[in-house]
């Protein structure tokens, strides 16, 4: 038997980080041969991760733009890089291996203590504890998320309430786990916000390690050594300074707009006057005219660059720098719990029996799939619902419905 704690949210495609420590799927490194049913994401879909579906690897720790940010937040499981796994494995065994990995990562204190406590307890008790807590948390969550959630920096009260419910169901150190959970949630929110804005502020962090490159040629024409030119007579004379020194001060300014304002021209106040005109639905003639104007203005591309620009506008060429989530912008607005907590859609299915079991496996797999949109997941579930309703008689004969 492998230690299997129910997985809630794993993939950090758009900043989804695991909501709770108990929701992390940890399988013993030695026992990874028996991975769970649906760890391998569907490769037909949008992202193409190379070499991902090996039995030993977590498919979640690879190359999106966010993997750097989210390595810390999704610490206990998805932060494990494949290199780390491979180098740790041959030396150590089993539980020590796992714990070393966990302790090496940037994890909060409670997580570490919690896993040490896990190790000390019998492994079989843990999975029994968590499904109960999961039920309470998920039902709480499902009730809470019927409405829209509050955006921006504050966590929504339902999330806070859900976090406190989860923490209270944990066996040890409830206040600390609660604060940890809230911290994780806040970090997740801030990560998604940053990702949406496009990380304009943090470029300083990235370039902090880079060396400052000084412009080498700024002063060398001014040096006396460079100003003497060799003449035919052999006397030599200095370089013409002339115009150069007048523009030196101007050139030294870093930008065009840093000088003192001269107030020669009045600043324009016409921007407030234009109102948005009410445009009715453009008729076919208008569209045709606009197309004609565009065709007249558009010139044939004079070179390869213009050709590439034209293709990018047409959509034939991807936008650079490559955005893995091009075309998926509205997906990032979907909160992670709609991807993960899919139990509420199982209401039309029977409560017991093989059909339910099957659908729970389907839900489990879908919740782990980071490549599908919520709409696609819903379509899958819908299809199964219709199919089983059609095949009701067959199922009743075999007493399965």
């Amino acid at each position: 038997m492998y230690r299997r704690i129910i997985l809630l949210a794993t993939r950090n495609r758009s900043g989804i980080s695991p909501i709770a420590e108990h929701s992390i799927n940890i399988t013993n490194q030695q026992e990874t041969k028996r991975t769970s049913v649906s760890t391998c994401p569907n490769r037909q879909r949008m992202h193409y991760n190379k070499g991902v579906c090996a039995p030993n690897n977590r498919p979640f720790s690879t190359s999106t733009a966010l993997s750097k940010e989210n390595e810390e937040s999704s610490a206990p499981k998805t932060g494990v890089t494949e290199a780390k796994v491979k180098e740790e494995e041959p030396r150590k065994s089993g539980k020590e291996n796992l714990l070393d990995l966990l302790s090496a990562m940037k994890v909060g204190v409670t997580t570490k203590k919690k896993f040490q406590a896990l190790k000390s307890q019998k492994s079989k008790e843990q999975p029994r504890v968590h499904p109960e807590s999961m039920e309470s948390a998920t039902s709480m969550f499902q009730k809470a998320t019927t409405e829209q959630q509050a955006q921006k920096e504050s966590l929504s009260p339902e999330l806070v309430a859900a976090a406190s419910a989860v923490a209270s169901s944990m066996p040890f150190k409830k206040s600390q786990t609660e604060s940890e959970l809230l911290q994780q949630l806040r970090k997740h929110e801030s990560d998604t916000e940053v990702h949406k804005k496009g990380e304009t502020n943090n470029i300083g962090n990235i370039i902090a390690d880079m060396k400052v490159g000084k412009h080498p040629n700024a002063r060398s024409p001014n040096r006396p050594a460079n100003q003497i030119r060799f003449d035919d007579d052999g006397r030599g004379y200095t370089h013409d300074r002339g115009v150069v020194n007048e523009f030196d001060a101007v050139r030294r300014r870093k930008s065009l707009f840093t000088g003192k304002r001269l107030n020669i021209f009045p600043s324009t106040t016409d921007t407030t006057e234009t109102e948005p005109k009410e445009v009715s639905v453009p008729s076919l003639w208008d569209i045709e005219l606009a197309g004609q104007i565009a065709a007249v203005i558009k010139h044939l591309p004079r070179n390869g660059f213009e050709e590439m620009i034209q293709w990018t506008k047409d959509g034939k060429l991807w936008q650079y720098p490559i955005n893995n989530e091009a075309g998926l912008e509205e997906e990032s607005d979907v909160p992670f719990h709609e991807h993960v907590f899919l139990d509420s859609h199982l209401e039309d299915f029977p409560k017991q029996g093989p059909v339910r079991h099957f659908m729970e496996l389907v839900i489990n797999g879908l919740s782990k799939n980071p490549y599908l949109t919520v709409k696609q997941k819903m379509e899958h579930i819908e299809w199964f619902r219709e199919y089983f309703q059609q095949k009701e008689e067959v199922l009743k004969e075999s007493e399965a419905y």
Binding site: Q44, P354, V355, H357, F358, L361, V362, E379, H380, W383, F384, Y387, K391, V394, L395, E397, S398, A400
Partner: protein, 136 residues
């Protein structure tokens, strides 16, 4: 004249022009139509790919029902028959990765979708970015 040809082509469902077949216009003249694909085999492969894309979800779900130890066997047998009833071109196994330029079915490198001959031709004329003759 052009309009009737176009209308005829749009009718063919997938909107691809077929390689050089003859259509009769309204006036009764026989006209040739030039297409974009190298040959008919390439066209059929394109059709198979489009159909496989259409039926991909359905096939995935049916296979999930079939390859299962949980659901009853009667249901799985019915699912077997249903998936066999799908059109033959809907299965992805029938897709062949042909060369994009010459439609050659063999000797095609997947990364470039080109056959070895075309690849060599382009690489020798410096049209392949980052490809260089190997020498070590």
């Amino acid at each position: 004249m052009a309009a009737s040809v176009l209308a005829r082509l749009v009718k063919s469902g997938f909107e691809f022009l077929q390689t050089s077949f003859r259509t009769t216009s309204q006036a009764g003249n026989v006209e040739q139509v030039r297409g974009y694909y190298v040959n008919w085999r390439m066209l059929r492969d394109v059709k198979r790919r489009q159909m496989a894309f259409e039926y991909a979800n359905d096939r995935l779900r049916m296979n999930a029902i079939r390859k299962n130890t949980i659901l009853p066997k009667e249901l799985q047998e019915i699912a077997d028959k249903e998936i066999a009833a799908f059109p033959r071109d809907s299965c992805p196994v029938r897709i062949r990765n042909r060369c994009v330029m010459t439609s050659r079915p063999r000797g095609v490198k997947r990364r470039w979708r080109l056959s070895r001959i075309v690849f060599r031709h382009l690489a020798d004329h410096n049209q392949m970015s980052g490809i260089q003759r190997a020498m070590w």
